[in-house]
Structures are given as structure tokens and as C-alpha cells.
């Protein structure tokens, strides 16, 4: 399946995410999930980014929290806004879940 996942927590409290499998997996970091894209805790990038997936960060939420594209810890993270998110949901994946 082509699965999209929206992560909105700065610290995940469950391990469902790590176990999820999909033929195509996209992860959208939104809300406080954006911290995975910009914060290195004690120098380490978030384990969330270890997942084999396409990564996106929601621009509106990134900037609302005081960060910009210059702060992204990994070049593989693409920015997406609400407009782009609609296409990810409607056209590019079978299912989209909010973890």
C-alpha cells in the first residue's frame, strides 16, 4: 500500500510508527512533529528520520514555531504547505493516517 503518515508529537509515546510497513511510505512532520526536522537532541538527529520513507515538513507549522528551511537537519526533508499536502493525500497515497 501507499501510506502517508502525519506525525504531530515531539516525542512519540508509542512504537507503532517504527513497525509500520508500506510499499511507499511518506511521513509528514506537522504540529510539534516539526521538531524532528530541526532539533538534534544532544547532537543526535531524531530516530524518526531513520525510517525508510519520504519526509516532509509542514511549512506553516515549521515557521509558526520559529524555524525556517535553514534549520532542517537533513536535506532529504522536503517542505510542503497545506496546498501540497492536499495533493499528497488525494493523489499520491492510498491511505493517510494521523498517528
Amino acid at each position: 500500500m501507499k501510506l502517508g503518515v502525519i506525525l504531530t508529537e515531539s516525542k512519540r509515546t508509542e512504537d507503532t510508527f517504527e513497525r509500520l510497513q508500506a510499499d511507499k511510505l511518506s511521513v509528514v512532520l506537522a504540529g510539534n512533529g516539526i521538531y524532528h526536522a530541526v532539533i538534534k537532541e544532544n547532537g543526535n538527529t531524531s530516530k524518526v528520520l531513520d525510517k525508510a520513507a519520504d519526509f516532509y515538513v509542514l511549512t506553516e507549522d515549521l515557521e509558526s514555531r520559529g524555524f525556517t528551511s535553514a534549520d532542517l537537519v537533513d536535506a532529504k526533508i522536503k517542505q510542503v504547505n497545506y496546498d501540497g499536502l492536499v495533493d499528497l493525500i488525494m493523489d499520491e497515497h492510498d491511505k493517510f493516517v494521523w498517528l
Binding site: M1, L3, T13, E14, R19, K95, V97
Partner: protein, 139 residues
């Protein structure tokens, strides 16, 4: 004659009971599938399955005394009612074991007269259900 069409929904419950209303809403929404037909065309049905994973497995324990202490129906009771209307309820085996919870501690549908029982299954089984489902709702 309309074509019979069954839409499969998988409700994945990943959070512990009571802190948030979410796990209970998963169960009440599943129960509501019984009457969804009034909004659907002839022959169309929705069939939810519930899967408890992570801390969500804690919703499925028996002996919950929330009615005695807080006057609130327990999530155990809702699991039983879900079984009573013949919906499948899956509990992740690895997550139960990681928490040291014996399967004998799980809610018992037969106490309400249900034919169905909770199915304790490996996560791989739940992964398959996610793939098979037409729609996926994480609570």
C-alpha cells in the same frame, strides 16, 4: 438491484484508556456501524475492525471499575459490546507480552453473551489488516 459493497475500516487504538476519550470513541464509533446503512445506498455496508496496539492494549483488560469509582462505563464494557455485535477485536500479542499481561486478563465477551472473543495476534497480522482495509483510522 444495487451491487453489494462492503467497506472495510480498521480502527487502530494506540493510546491507553481514560486519559483521552479517544479509545472509547473508537469503540462507540465501531458500534455505530450498525446503523450507518441509513446513510448508505442499498447493499452498501461498513465493517469496522478494532486493533489494539502499544499502550492501546490496556483498554482491553477486564475488571475495570470505572463505573464504581467515577460513574463512567468502562472501556472493557465497550469491548464486550463490540464483540456482541460480531465485530472483530484484535489485540497485539507482542505488546501484551512486553507489558507482562496474560491473555487471561482480557475482557470476556461471553459474559455479555457474545459469540466472538478477543483475538490475540502478532503485529504482522495487524499490519496485514492495515493493508487489507479500505480505510485506516488511528485513534
Amino acid at each position: 438491484m444495487a451491487e453489494a459493497k462492503e467497506l472495510k475500516q480498521l480502527f487502530v487504538v494506540q493510546r491507553p484508556p481514560y486519559k483521552s476519550e479517544n479509545p472509547k470513541l473508537a469503540l462507540t464509533h465501531a458500534l455505530a456501524s450498525q446503523t450507518a446503512e441509513i446513510y448508505l445506498d442499498d447493499g452498501e455496508t461498513v465493517l469496522p475492525t478494532i486493533a489494539f496496539v502499544g499502550d492501546g492494549v490496556l483498554n482491553a483488560l477486564n475488571n475495570q471499575k470505572s463505573m464504581d469509582h467515577y460513574g463512567i462505563s468502562s472501556n472493557e464494557n465497550h469491548v464486550q459490546m463490540t464483540l456482541l455485535i460480531d465485530l472483530r477485536v484484535l489485540v497485539c500479542k507482542e505488546d501484551l507480552e512486553a507489558r507482562g499481561i496474560d491473555a487471561g486478563r482480557l475482557a470476556d465477551g461471553s459474559a455479555l453473551g457474545a459469540d466472538m472473543s478477543i483475538e490475540v495476534v502478532p503485529f504482522s497480522e495487524i499490519q496485514k489488516e492495515m493493508e487489507a482495509a479500505d480505510q485506516l483510522l488511528f485513534f
